[in-house]
């Protein structure tokens, strides 16, 4: 256990190595998480947008089919 927060940060002099590796590790994990969520959200919005435009366009097409 560390006696002070300062020691905790210093990590017995190896602070830079330890905090760098923890930072990079959790940084990588967070980036991975965010990227995964973003792509999924982007795809889902494209899907909804596409389905909406299909719904809009299929009604006139349906109408034109009856008139042929």
């Amino acid at each position: 256990m560390f006696d002070s927060f300062g020691d905790f940060l210093a990590m017995g002099g190896y602070g830079p190595y330890i905090w760098a590796s923890y930072g990079l590790c959790f940084g990588g994990m967070v980036i991975l998480l965010i990227q995964s969520i973003l792509t999924w959200k982007k795809r889902r919005s494209e899907l909804e947008q596409l389905e909406a435009s299909r719904a809009r366009q299929s009604t006139p097409a349906a109408r034109s089919k009856e008139t042929q």
């Binding site: 389905e51 299909r54 366009q57 299929s58 097409a61 349906a62 089919k65």
Partner: protein, 214 residues
Amino acid sequence: MARLSATSLTCLRGPRLVFEGLGFSLNAGDALLLTGPNGSGKSSLLRLLAGLLSPLDGQIMANGHPISDDIEGHRATTAYLGHLDPVKSTLTVQENARFWATLLGLPDRVDVALATLNLTDLAALSGRVLSSGQRRRLSLTRLLLSPADLWLLDEPTVGLDTNAVATVEQMVADHRARGGVVILSTHVEFQLPGAKTLDLGDYTPAAFRSEAPV
């Protein structure tokens, strides 16, 4: 039981839906002429039937069994002539023909095949010097060197002179007489007596359909 039949066939090429709901049935000795505008999927259909392309939906049956069950077996009984002529420029006509004859299993028919497509006097020439018509005739010899009873020909007579076209028509007639099945697409006049026709334009999906494949 039909030698070859397809039901509600749907084909996706890259991002594009080429045709859907296509079907036909052929018995021994039958012929099917594929017509339709460019891009309507004639080549895609031929590649599907040769097992070189897997359909998005639908079923292709050969002798009552789906070809996907034994795709290798189906391919072994199929002769497919595409747009490309597999002629090696550094091999002679004779070597090219003999290679395919050995691989297809009828090595002793090389001379007959070359004679039929009057390539005999070109036998010693290397592929590099052949004209496109001659290269086409050389790849047509593969049909005579193959035991396959199902011929899938994609515009077989492109670049051929009139008597070469007559030779091909005769080859097809003989093949059908022997109980073989021929499916071919062409834009030029081709004698195919008693052949069924299939216009791929009828199967091009309408611009927007209500039931998307979701």
